[in-house]
C-alpha cells in the first residue's frame, strides 16, 4: 500500500471541468455571434457610425427646456402615483401570499398572480395598457403599478414568512382578531423592511417612468422617442442628460432617507 506512488500534489491543480466549460462558452459565443450576423466588419463599421452619432449629440441642445421639464414632471407624477397605488395593493396581497399566515388555497393563487406581475416586463405591460385604455399617463401608471406589485408583494411576503410566530401567538392568545394580529404582531416585525422595499421601488419606478413613454404611456420617454425619430440627436443628448441627473438626484435622496431610517 505504501509502495503505491501517491500522485504529486500540485499547488495549483488545473480545473479541467471549468476549462472545458469556458471553452464551450467561447465556442458558443463565436457560433451565436455568426448566427446573429455579428461580424467584426459590422462592429468596426458601427464604431465609425457611433463616433458620428456622438459628434451629432455634442453639444446637447437645451433650447426646448419647457418640453423637457413637462415630460420630466409627468414622469415624476407617474412614478409617485404608481408607487402609492402599488404599495396600497401589495400590502394586503403580500399578507395573503404569506404561507405562515394564510391557508394554502389562498396563498397559492395569490403567489401565482404576483409571479405573473413580476415576469412580464413593464414595457410589455405598458403596451398592453396603451392598447386597451389609450395613450397617456394612465397607461404608464397602470403598468408601473403592476410592476410594483410584482416586486414589493413578493419580497414583502417573503419577509412576512420569516417573522417569529411567537409574537403572533401571544397576540392571538389575548383574543385579538385577524386585523389586530396583523397590526400588533406582524407589521411591527417587518415595517422597516417594508419601507426599504417601498423606497427601492419608488426609485426604480422613477427610472422606469422615464421610459414607458417610448410605447406611448406618458412621461419623458415619449419626448425622447420623438426626438430620436426626428434625428434631433442634440435634443436626445439633452433629454438623456436630464434623465440621468434626475435619477442621480433620486438615488442621493433615497440614500439619505435610508441612512436616516437606520
Amino acid at each position: 500500500m505504501s509502495a503505491t506512488t501517491s500522485p504529486r500534489r500540485l499547488a495549483f491543480a488545473p480545473n479541467w471541468p471549468m476549462r472545458l466549460a469556458l471553452l464551450a462558452l467561447a465556442v458558443y459565443t463565436v457560433w451565436a455571434s455568426t448566427r446573429l450576423g455579428l461580424t467584426w466588419d459590422r462592429v468596426a463599421h458601427g464604431m465609425g457610425e457611433g463616433a458620428k452619432l456622438l459628434g451629432r449629440m455634442v453639444p446637447p441642445n437645451f433650447e426646448r427646456w419647457q418640453l423637457l421639464l413637462e415630460g420630466l414632471l409627468e414622469s415624476l407624477q407617474i412614478a409617485v402615483l404608481a408607487s402609492a397605488l402599488g404599495i396600497l395593493i401589495s400590502l394586503p396581497l403580500s399578507i395573503l401570499a404569506a404561507r405562515n399566515l394564510s391557508p394554502l388555497w389562498i396563498a397559492g393563487p395569490v403567489r401565482g398572480v404576483i409571479a405573473v406581475c413580476r415576469s412580464l416586463h413593464y414595457v410589455i405591460v405598458a403596451i398592453l395598457f396603451v392598447k386597451a385604455i389609450g395613450f397617456g399617463a394612465l397607461a404608464g401608471t397602470a403598468a408601473l403599478v403592476v410592476a410594483s406589485v410584482g416586486f414589493i408583494a413578493k419580497l414583502f411576503a417573503e419577509a412576512i414568512e420569516e417573522i417569529s410566530m411567537k409574537q403572533v401567538e401571544a397576540i392571538r392568545a389575548t383574543g385579538a382578531g385577524v386585523m389586530k394580529v396583523i397590526a400588533y404582531a406582524v407589521l411591527p416585525q417587518v415595517a422597516s423592511r417594508f419601507i426599504g422595499f417601498c423606497l427601492y421601488q419608488l426609485d426604480s419606478n422613477l427610472r422606469n417612468s422615464t421610459l414607458v413613454g417610448i410605447v406611448g404611456a406618458g412621461g419623458i420617454g415619449g419626448t425622447l422617442f420623438a426626438a430620436f425619430k426626428r434625428f434631433d440627436y442634440d435634443f436626445v443628448a439633452a433629454i438623456l442628460l436630464s434623465i440621468i441627473a434626475l435619477i442621480f438626484l433620486a438615488e442621493i435622496i433615497s440614500g439619505r432617507v435610508r441612512a436616516a431610517l437606520r
Partner: protein, 273 residues
C-alpha cells in the same frame, strides 16, 4: 413636608409615549410629504376621465380577444424569435464582461490604488446603469441599424454597470492574505490576481453572471420594440395588426421562458455556491 409633595407612585401614573415630541413632529412631516406628493400627482397628472372610466371594460375586452391563444402560430415564427432573444441575452451577458472586468478591477480600491482611476471607473459604471436598456437599444439601432447586433450591444452596455459594481464590491471584500503571500513569493501581478484574487471572487462572479443573465432574458424580450431584434419584434407586429390571439401566444412564450430561466438560475446557483 417633603413626603406630602413626593408621591412615590407618580412615575407609574405618568403617561408613557413611544416617541418624543420632536420625533412625532418629524414622523408627521414625513407622512405630510408623502400625502402631499400623491395629492400633487393626482391633481396635476394628465389623465383623461373618460379613459379611466371605461378602462376595466376595455381591459376585459382585450383579454377576451386574446382567448384562446393561437398556439399554431408558435412554430416557426415565435420559436425562432425566442431563440434569437435567448442568444441576445446570453451574448450580451458574455460581452458585458469584456468591459465589466477591467472597470471592476479599476473601481476596486484594493486592486487599483490610483484614486482618479477609481473615480473614473465608478463614473463609467454609474453612466451604464443610469441609461435604460431600451435607450441603449435606441442608440445602438441608430449605430448598427435594426437587428440583433444592436440588441446584443444594448444588453452588454446596460449590464456593465450592474455587473461591474457588484464585482468591484466582491473584489473589495477579498482577504489580502493570499495576495500578499503570492507577492512575497515573487509572483508577477497577473499571477497574483489569477491565483490570489480570482479563487476568492469566483463564487460571487458566477452568481453575478447568472443573476444578470436572468435579468437580461427579461430585458431582451422587449428590445425588439425599438427594432433591436428578438421576440419583441414579433410581439410588436402582432399588436400593430391587432392579432390578439398571436399576442397571447407570444406573451405566454415569454412568460414560460422567463420562469424557466429563473428556475435554471436558481438550480445552478444552488449547486455552485
Amino acid at each position: 413636608m417633603n413626603s406630602m409633595t413626593h408621591d412615590p407612585v407618580a412615575p407609574l401614573r405618568r403617561e408613557w409615549q413611544r416617541h418624543t415630541p420632536a420625533q412625532r413632529i418629524s414622523r408627521w412631516m414625513v407622512w405630510l410629504v408623502c400625502v402631499a406628493a400623491v395629492v400633487w400627482a393626482v391633481r396635476s397628472i394628465d389623465i383623461i376621465p373618460e379613459f379611466l372610466a371605461d378602462a376595466p371594460e376595455q381591459m376585459a375586452d382585450m383579454l377576451v380577444r386574446m382567448w384562446p391563444p393561437d398556439i399554431a402560430h408558435y412554430y416557426p415564427a415565435v420559436h425562432n424569435a425566442m431563440i434569437e432573444t435567448l442568444h441576445i441575452a446570453t451574448l450580451g451577458t458574455v460581452f458585458c464582461f469584456v468591459l465589466a472586468i477591467p472597470l471592476a478591477l479599476m473601481a476596486a480600491r484594493n486592486v487599483c490604488t490610483i484614486k482618479p482611476l477609481n473615480v473614473l471607473a465608478q463614473l463609467g459604471l454609474v453612466a451604464s446603469r443610469s441609461v435604460n436598456s431600451l435607450v441603449w437599444a435606441l442608440l445602438f439601432v441608430a449605430i448598427f441599424g435594426p437587428g440583433a447586433a444592436a440588441g446584443v450591444f444594448a444588453i452588454a452596455f446596460r449590464s456593465v454597470g450592474f455587473v461591474g459594481k457588484l464585482l468591484a464590491e466582491a473584489l473589495e471584500e477579498t482577504n489580502p492574505g493570499p495576495r500578499e503571500a503570492l507577492r512575497a513569493a515573487g509572483a508577477p501581478w497577473g499571477a497574483e490576481l489569477l491565483k490570489g484574487v480570482w479563487p476568492q471572487v469566483q463564487p460571487a462572479f458566477w452568481g453575478i453572471a447568472l443573476f444578470r443573465w436572468d435579468i437580461n432574458v427579461r430585458e431582451s424580450a422587449v428590445l425588439g420594440l425599438v427594432g433591436a431584434g428578438g421576440i419583441g419584434l414579433v410581439l410588436d407586429d402582432a399588436i400593430n395588426f391587432f392579432q390578439w390571439e398571436r399576442v397571447a401566444t407570444v406573451l405566454l412564450a415569454i412568460l414560460v421562458v422567463v420562469l424557466l430561466a429563473e428556475i435554471v438560475v436558481t438550480r445552478i446557483r444552488a449547486r455552485l455556491i
